[in-house]
Amino acid sequence: MSAVVAEHDEHHEHEHDDHDHGPAKGWLRWIITTNHKDIGTLYLWFALVMFFVGGVMALIIRAELFQPGLSFVEPQFFNSMTTMHALVMIFGGVMPAFVGLANWMIPMMIGAPDMALPRMNNMSFWMLVAGIVLLSSTLFMEGGAPAAGWTMYPPLVLQTGAALPFAIFSVHLLGISSIMGAINIIATIFNMRAPGMTLMRMPMFVWTWVITAFLLIAVMPVFAGAVTMLLTDKFFETSFFDAAGGGDPVLYQHIFWFFGHPEVYILILPTFGLASTIIPVFARKPLFGYSSMVYATAAIAFLSFIVWAHHMFTVGMPLAGELYFMYSTMIIAIPTAVKVFNWTATMWKGAMTFETPMLFSISFVVLFTMGGFTGLMMAIAPSDLQYHDTYFIVAHFHYVLVPSAIFMIMAGGYYWLPKWTGNMYNEKIGQLHFWLSAISVNILFFPQHFLGLAGMPRRIPDYAVQFTDWNMISSIGGFIFGFSQLLFLYIVVDTIRGGTGVKATNEVWDGALQYGGGGTQGLEWTLPSPPPYHTFTEPPVIVPTEYQH
């Protein structure tokens, strides 16, 4: 069945490639492209570059914190680094990486010829670049880059120098980019599925992305509104966040986290989708509890809108608010536990093999669970009074971002690189990359739990001497982790240039065709590796899993 579809498709392509349907010639191809694969590639490269830019900032932070006292950088610049590291990694690294994966994979996974709105797709990418350029330009401005933290709380952030309006407008551009990207993904998934690709047969990556897209459309405008009020407070005499005029600085925190909490799920839901796509393939079993995965994802997304103030337990909310946000936050543990249970159950008694994508996925399940548990600890309002603004928080969210989101992006990269390039990557170096990353990431972040519980505050360039040992260990882990990532860069470049010399088959991974979809085959594995410039111009016929044998 699948082979027939693929051949038919290829044949169709060749017929049409004679006209102007190939890519534009030269570098202009990448500027004016509307092709989902080209745009996906642009997003992924952009994210990789930003991953290293943000990584250098992280290493500056870890170098300064290697020992107490001011060793390398000015405190102001240190604060700029913590702020910019976060903004670059979130808006330049993780989000674009997921949008890149969505662009490349969603049309192929649902049997669509391209994204629904290809011109807008091009614009989303260039808006992203414009936003990041605007943000990066602040590094060279009078007064330095924003240094009040990525959350940009007033009144502190209003003391930012020339960088403030640039940072605010960069948020606007990034917001427009994300909203357009999300609208495109929604239109693609709801309007472009091949006949027979019902919603409950979609791969989990597609499911998690459509839910993520709703979150994006709902909250990016909220962030835009919040920073717009910062702008008018600074330059146009308004007093939204100024108590003297009847406003309230805490209002900003409420609005910000109404955006911010769904935002962290924007970073983690596609991560879940990747894990749910990759784990079944290497366990050679269908995903355990597919429909419960879908409902759990939707439940997490819904809950993300009603828990925001757990980020601000110490701000002086009424007791009723503290209680409400504490309990509602804890409820999130239930759908999340459903997911962790399902991943584990998928592996149970599976014929598992441990190629690099699977190694990253398994370590994701373990380390994400740990990050989730520290999240539960912080959800308990009275305990959080102790944890708030300490390194415990830093440890928590890095566990759910680095060995979770970033690891799964890496896993996705290894999983689909052979499909994208047609070449197999070097498995030995891939595994070396995994082990170095998985060990060093724990050396890097695990000690930060101890530091936080012992009372070390976050966002400071200097600290009391009793924190020295764990900070040194953390910094050593940070540098090992940082430099290990060069292996990933090497593998990506090497694979594009031919890799091991082994050509990838259509299916690439044993079991990918059968288990790499949701309620049907993994459609991308029916296509040649690399897939032609246009795929599924003729929609494939979808055969649900239950009829395939």
Binding site: M123, G225, G246
Partner: protein
């Protein structure tokens, strides 16, 4: 490229990246202007001009593609979904400012006056401040200019003068817009064009009334953006709404121009529908404003 089942996939788009360049130039210029740079305003205007020209070019292309029958029903659905979710994002943007109004009126201003958990706040910060709405805050910011200085005195905007007239204008423009749509569906070009002219006229009249209202607020009433939280929420909400009315009226003008040129068929008029949806959205936001900002 058109796929075998007719899904149109455009190639090699130059407009989007140019639109982005225009927007980037405009915002970078605006930011420099706010920082006091002398060339900022020029960059802003140049960027804005680029932005407008490129958007116009892009939309002209879309219009001609639509008229030449390039798009099939499925493409039309994609466009409609795009517009629908764009409007939803706009709803969320306005929700921020409505939320701000609700929060300050019902929570933070009462706390400043000592209600709820605010007893210590009142005692320590502004013991003389009594909760009130409208308010320009405990420091009595802004207000009428007396002897070259702000006095802290301002008058709130009433609901039943120009704002009521504006409500009527906008509501009737919704009716004329629907009337025009009926004309389009009944292939009555005359009704379509007349309806659109009425809608656009009512829209611009609304903007004119609002400009008058703003002028009055600034010159006679001491009500400005600087008049504490009341002035901030009032101008931010009505200002962003007014901006959206302008945009909506411009979109409708383009639709009117296209109707003149004979565009749109009963079965193919996405641009009209999108403009109408947007217009009704702006209408609904106004009703929210009229109730929560002006009346209550």
């Amino acid at each position: 490229m058109s796929t075998s089942h007719g899904y149109y996939i455009p190639h090699k788009a130059t407009w989007p990246v140019m639109v982005t360049a225009g927007l980037f130039c405009m915002l970078a210029g605006f930011a420099s202007y706010l920082n006091g740079s002398s060339s900022g305003a020029t960059f802003m205007l140049v960027g804005f001009a680029i932005f407008i020209i490129m958007v116009a070019g892009w939309f002209t292309l879309q219009a001609s593609e639509s008229e030449s029958g390039t798009y099939n029903t499925q493409v039309g659905i994609s466009f409609r979904m795009g517009m629908m979710w764009f409007i939803f994002s706009e709803v969320m943007f306005f929700a921020v400012f409505f939320g701000t109004l609700w929060y300050t009126r019902n929570l933070s201003v009462p706390w400043l006056g000592g209600e709820g958990t605010g007893a210590a706040t009142k005692a320590l910060l502004w013991p003389d401040y009594e909760t009130a709405w409208p308010t320009n805050g405990p420091a009595h910011l802004g207000g009428k200019i007396v002897d070259g200085k702000t006095s802290g005195e301002f008058e709130p905007m009433g609901a039943f003068g120009l704002p009521l007239l504006n409500t009527l204008l906008l509501l009737s423009s919704g009716v004329t817009c629907t009337w025009a749509h009926h004309g389009l569906l009944a292939k009555n070009r005359d009704q379509l064009i007349k309806g659109l002219i009425a809608t656009v006229t009512l829209g611009f009249l609304f903007v004119l009334c609002q400009a008058t209202e703003y002028h009055e607020a600034y010159t006679d009433m001491g009500l400005t953006l600087g008049s504490g939280i009341y002035g901030s929420t009032f101008f931010m909400l009505t200002g962003f709404h007014g901006f959206h009315v302008c945009v909506g009226a411009i979109i409708l003008s383009v639709v009117l121009f296209r109707s003149w040129k004979g565009h749109f068929k009963p079965e193919n008029h996405f641009a009209f529908e999108a403009a109408a949806w947007y217009w009704h959205f702006v209408d609904v936001v106004w009703l929210g404003l009229f109730i929560f900002v002006y009346i209550m």
